[in-house]
Symmetry: C2
Subunit: 384 residues, 2 copies
């Protein structure tokens, strides 16, 4: 898009009159739509900051992209071509990291608030809301007697759930990583959008997806407890290891008694990323009759300490789990992931024991981009 | 709080080490907690912007508050004493309106993203999450044959709803203003937090609260339809007037068939703000047997044109509605509201017809501060 066309668009937006007497916030005007996704998979950003000396956009490419100032103080950038994806980006104005003043779509990753941008035409078409039947997304509080508290979780029920009161559904338990919470998979992972799209296309079976909070010491995401609006810092104790996994029966118990599930191994999946991959790994290992499908996304497959363990303490339950093996044991990791070596060691252990699995090795590292992608690969394999 | 104490706090936060290899976003460090709410109901803000020439905080007082620069480029402000409330504020750095770089708690009001800050010790204690039983908050899609689309709404079910499958509940329909959507009452209005707190204290009856989208031409809030992540502009057609109200039976029909409601006038309330006040007014007027409780918050009580109408077209249905009067007909407005005159005229009309109502006149104008407050006054009057 030419700059001339861009400014025409900006002027059109600027010219729109507001119904200023209608509601409080209408007094704040947005001068332009930014970013604009162009047809050649570039995106154009405009930030009005006449007094700034340097403005950059971070999160789209490996290095921040510098914006160029025009004569009246608009900073403008048209990016290189971007691969289809959901990007979380931020704007840096003279050293202050902030969100794009012209983009209200944001997502929080631990203590960082970033803007969301979708470049269509590939993978990200699954992350964009489409005109398909939508499931419901609920924030519910379940009782965890094991942890001694009521805890918040996100539950996705597929389109049709409310209108088919006799139909029962399989369940995927989908777990976040360290520093995340029960909002993470749906906001950064776009889980409900992906499910809506892939169920609508027939690629994925209608299922309930349960996204609990994996921090055994917190009842809910930041801002949803009596602790108030503190700064989320991502530091939370995972010790004693196994605390969350040991309380997992409280989650499955609640779900099977409050939703129309098919409460057996063939209709129960568990998957997670990073720490949540570790949770999925240990929970399925310790409850071999409960989960017929297991997904380990960039998983922290640490039994004790930092490495893969080949002690009897791990090998015995592994053999027991695979005596009646899960229908799917899926492992995905990026070549640049800091857990790549750990996962490679784990694959060797599985190989040495002749235990079957599916392995997906991707480019990139420990990123939501990969985890969303893994989810779209994993989901079609479930409950078939 | 002294600056010295403030910097000690900042340094403590700065010193915290991150588990940097744990998850993607942990690389973004928050240098300090801002704002800090002090025990004297002031709040202290810190923004690190060494190159800025002027930094202000807007939204707390009638005029923006100027921050003061220290020698290393931190901009600091301790506010005057603030009344207990939930504030939405923004930071202006050299003319760029943005959110506080150190506060991840934000809310969107049409096209403005602002930070959220709670000053406790008064009204706002009802807006803060407490350690009480929490209801569920769901985003569900209901079918509206009248409008020819599936539409998204927010449904609050009170704590205990899931665990008492034989219990039936009354329903409050709670409607937003122009430019708002099905997220507005829960995010800016803190509806579910207020309900949790007031039900827990016994002041309010457990009830279902339904928050639909009042824009008859949109299926859902910005970002939740196939239109994608456009800039919300708050401009939407309300013509032909009555379109939303005429389709209201699709909402009550869905709710009564999908939730455990008590589907009669004595257990059904409708309330809304501004345009949603107009919707509540007309919907209850046109369906006199459906709503036993009516709440008009800064309501746009326009029948035709801009003024209050005393034509037969309005007076006849009004008399019909009050022939078997609602248990509560509650009108709240601020002295500075631009709709004050309209509401005063409407009260005169009601008086001239000897129709009973409760009237609450507050300070202030057309603000979420008033609407949250009205909700806390209105709720205890319902279903008793």
């Amino acid at each position: 898009m030419s700059l001339r066309k861009l400014f025409c668009l900006a002027l059109i937006a600027l010219g729109g009159s507001y119904m200023v007497n209608a509601q409080e916030a209408l007094s704040h005007k947005v001068l332009h739509h930014s970013p604009i996704v162009n047809s050649d998979s570039t995106a154009t950003f405009i930030v009005n900051a006449p007094k700034a000396e340097k403005v950059t956009v971070s999160g789209l490419t490996s290095q921040p992209l510098e914006m160029q100032r025009d004569s009246i103080g608009n900073w403008i950038l048209t990016t290189p071509q971007l691969a289809s994806n959901l990007y979380t980006y931020s704007i840096d104005i003279d050293g202050v990291r902030t969100v794009d003043p012209s983009n209200v779509y944001v997502a929080r990753d631990i203590s960082a608030l970033s803007n969301v941008l979708i470049i269509p035409g590939g993978n990200a078409d699954l992350y964009a809301v489409k005109d398909v039947p939508h499931g419901s997304v609920s924030k519910v509080w379940y009782d965890s007697p094991t942890l001694g508290m009521k805890r918040r979780m996100t539950v996705y029920t597929p389109a049709g759930y409310e209108d088919n009161p006799d139909k029962k559904y399989p369940v995927l338990y989908l777990l976040h990583g360290m520093g995340g919470d029960e909002d993470a998979w749906n906001e950064l992972g776009r889980a409900s959008v992906i499910l809506d799209n892939m169920i609508a296309s027939g690629e994925v079976e209608p299922m309930i997806v349960v996204m609990p909070n994996g921090n055994a010491e917190k009842a809910a995401a930041p801002g949803y407890t009596a602790e108030g609006m503190y700064v989320p810092d991502g530091r939370f104790s995972v010790a004693p290891q196994g605390k969350f996994e040991n309380a997992f029966k409280d989650i499955t118990g609640y779900v099977d008694s409050h939703y129309r599930t098919i409460p057996d191994k063939d209709h129960r999946a568990i998957a997670g990323l990073s720490m949540g991959g570790g949770h999925s790994w240990r929970t399925s290992l310790l409850n071999p009759d409960d989960f017929g499908y297991v997904g380990l996304f960039s998983a922290a497959v640490r039994w004790n300490g930092n490495g893969v363990d080949d002690s009897e303490e791990l090998v015995v339950p592994l053999k027991r789990q695979f005596a009646n093996p899960p229908s799917l044991y899926w492992i995905g990791i990026g070549k640049d992931d800091f857990l790549y070596g750990l996962n490679a060691d784990y694959l060797k252990l599985l190989d040495s024991l002749s235990l079957p699995y599916q392995y997906h090795e991707s480019e990139g590292g420990h990123t939501w981009s990969n985890w969303r992608d893994y989810l779209t690969i994993f989901l079609p394999k479930l409950f078939k």
